[in-house]
């Protein structure tokens, strides 16, 4: 099965990556090739198989309810491309 341009546009919107038409053309070829490759799995019957839930034979370990973190605003904001003393700053969402 190949992947059409409309689908690529839709996925790129979901993934928040902008693509121009040229890029979409190139990707269409590459992605179709990859999809064809991964479709090999459809040949295998897995009706009675339960999916893998975790690679590790263990269950989730718990953490105690203690405040051990926070109060590091400087560190948190340090690498932000746009900020002021207290907040991250981003362009407004279009309402």
């Amino acid at each position: 099965m190949s992947i059409d341009k409309e689908t690529i546009k839709h996925i790129s919107k979901l993934a928040r990556i902008s693509l121009d038409d040229k890029k979409i053309d190139n990707l269409s070829k590459d992605l179709s090739s990859i999809i064809k490759f991964i479709e090999k799995l459809s040949k295998l019957n897995t009706d009675d198989i339960k999916p893998l839930t975790s690679i590790i034979e263990a269950s989730l370990k718990f953490r105690k309810d203690k405040i051990l973190d926070g109060k590091i605003r400087d560190q948190i904001l340090k690498n932000s491309p746009e900020k002021n003393e207290e907040f991250f700053v981003v362009p407004k969402v279009v309402e």
């Binding site: 993934a15 902008s18 090739s33 991964i38 799995l41 999916p51 975790s54 362009p91």
Partner: protein, 484 residues
């Protein structure tokens, strides 16, 4: 004094301990090599000044100790290092300076080692040739315009070129073992959960593992020991005792059983690789090992499974790169535009491809057919290994289906690039430990490796078997530093 950069890690540790030479001398020796090796393009960030300071401080210590006392180590740029730029080989992080240190690198530093620099890699560890890095390709010391493998291409190349005594990388589908094979070095991927993932830039959470790249098996055991250990900050870290891999290293492998999986004898397998495989079998027999033919029936489904699971997890793990909290930010008239431009500009083509595939296989209407199906097949693949390990102690396969190829050779077809990982990927899907050891050369004088796969948490077993093989293979890494 002979060139210290030729020494093994074990010998360097020993030598510093016995005061045969100083940490400063060792560090200078590697820096000297690096300064004339820019052609290989292995470093993204050099920490040479700081390394010399650390070396001098180490030498001042009256009671130096630690498994890696006084050793400078360059690490793959996927490990967050405090106050040192960490890029993951990507434009989107090309100005990111972490305020924290990854658990694994922290362990190295607490054993007396210190940072030499951050090594180049495929962008976000996605690649098998180190041709997708924002910082340019890495060259294999075995020849100009030959790829070193990937994604830990910088680590493998720097190691083989004596720019670092050892390195650590990450392996999600073969990214330590394949470049090790391509550069004639030793690369080990530990059992999933053996080493902490905290502070490592995440690619595919259920597959990623940090691991050592070294010149010898002995070095590998030592470095693995330093890196391993339970971390409560990582919920997928397993609380299991770390063996003294080093001290327990032995060639006594008599009566162990090794499985040879028939499905790994792929169509059009180069005869050299087949011959090497047979050579490995013979050497192991010579060591007293029993050889058994086994079947891992779902092997052919491993690569497609991997290329569903890994991109799916990656598409979600890379959603945080949005220009808000850190990293590259592009302009945009509104939030969505900012996101789209940032991610479009910040990510390279391979990363984009994988994010899109990952988004696709998780999307409504496709989840069952792709992601859910892949998780079922993954179970079958794991069960293949579980069953096999009822009858054998380890499994021997080639590491790669070919030796290192030319740069640009596989760039046009992503799937042909993916096929590089055919022998390594099943191991990640099953969460098992595996090591690649350099075993021979092909007709182009490019190195080839053999892979040993072990039971969960049985790294000792595959290290021991590797030691037995290493001595018999007597592989020599004959590189002339043509790039200087």
């Amino acid at each position: 004094m002979s060139d210290l950069s030729n020494y093994t890690l074990v010998d360097l540790v020993e030598g510093i301990k016995n005061k045969n030479f100083t940490s400063e001398e060792v560090t200078k020796s590697f820096i000297k090599n690096s300064e004339v090796s820019d052609k290989l393009n292995t470093f993204i960030t050099k920490s040479f000044d700081q390394a010399l300071v650390s070396a001098k401080n180490f030498d001042k210590k009256s009671k130096p100790n630690g498994l890696l006392g006084g050793i400078p180590i360059a690490v793959k740029d996927m490990f967050c290092t405090k106050d040192v730029k960490t890029t993951a080989g990507s434009k989107i992080l090309n100005n990111f300076v972490p305020t924290y240190e990854s658990t694994v690198t922290n362990k190295l530093w607490s054993e007396g080692a210190f940072l030499l620099g951050k090594l180049n890699c495929d962008e976000f560890a996605m690649g098998s040739s180190n041709e997708t890095s924002f910082f340019g390709n890495v060259t294999n010391p075995f020849g100009d315009k030959i790829v070193p493998g990937g994604s830990s291409g910088g680590s493998a190349s720097a190691l083989a070129a004596n720019l670092t005594p050892a390195s650590i990388g990450t392996d999600t589908g073969g990214s330590i073992r394949q470049p090790a094979s391509f550069t004639g070095t030793v690369g080990l991927k530990p059992t999933y959960g053996r080493c902490s993932r905290w502070g490592i830039v995440a690619f595919a959470s259920s597959l990623d593992q940090a691991g050592p790249l070294t010149k010898t098996v002995e070095d590998c055991a030592l470095l693995l020991q330093a890196m391993s250990g339970y971390d409560p900050k990582d919920s997928t870290s397993v609380n299991i005792k770390v063996n003294d891999f080093s001290s327990n290293l032995t060639e006594k492998v008599k009566d162990l059983t090794i499985g040879i999986p028939k499905e790994y004898r792929v169509e059009n397998m180069p005869t050299e690789i087949d011959k090497l495989w047979k050579k490995g079998i013979d050497f192991l027999k010579d060591a007293g090992v029993v050889i058994k033919d086994i079947s891992l029936p779902h092997t052919m489904y491993a690569l497609p499974t991997y290329y569903i699971v890994a991109p799916a997890e990656a598409s979600s793990n890379l959603a945080r790169y949005d220009g808000v909290k850190y990293g590259h930010r592009s302009k945009g008239n509104n939030l969505i535009e900012m996101y789209e431009n940032t991610r479009s500009e910040g990510f390279g083509d391979e990363v984009k491809r994988r994010i899109l595939i990952g988004t696709y296989v998780l999307s409504s209407g496709y989840y069952d057919a792709y992601y859910l199906k892949a998780q079922k097949v993954r179970k079958l693949i794991k069960e293949d290994f579980d069953k096999a390990f009822n009858n054998v102690d380890a499994i021997l396969t080639p590491s790669t289906p070919s030796s290192a190829f030319k740069m640009g050779e596989k760039k046009d077809d992503p799937v042909s690039m993916y096929l590089n990982d055919i022998f390594t990927v099943p191991v990640n899907l099953a969460g098992l430990p595996a090591i690649s050891i350099p075993s021979g050369y092909d007709k182009n004088n490019l190195p080839l490796g053999l892979q040993l796969i072990g039971r969960p948490f049985d790294e000792q077993m595959i290290l021991n078997l590797s030691l037995a093989l290493q001595r018999r293979m007597n592989f020599k890494r004959n590189i002339k530093a043509w790039w200087k």
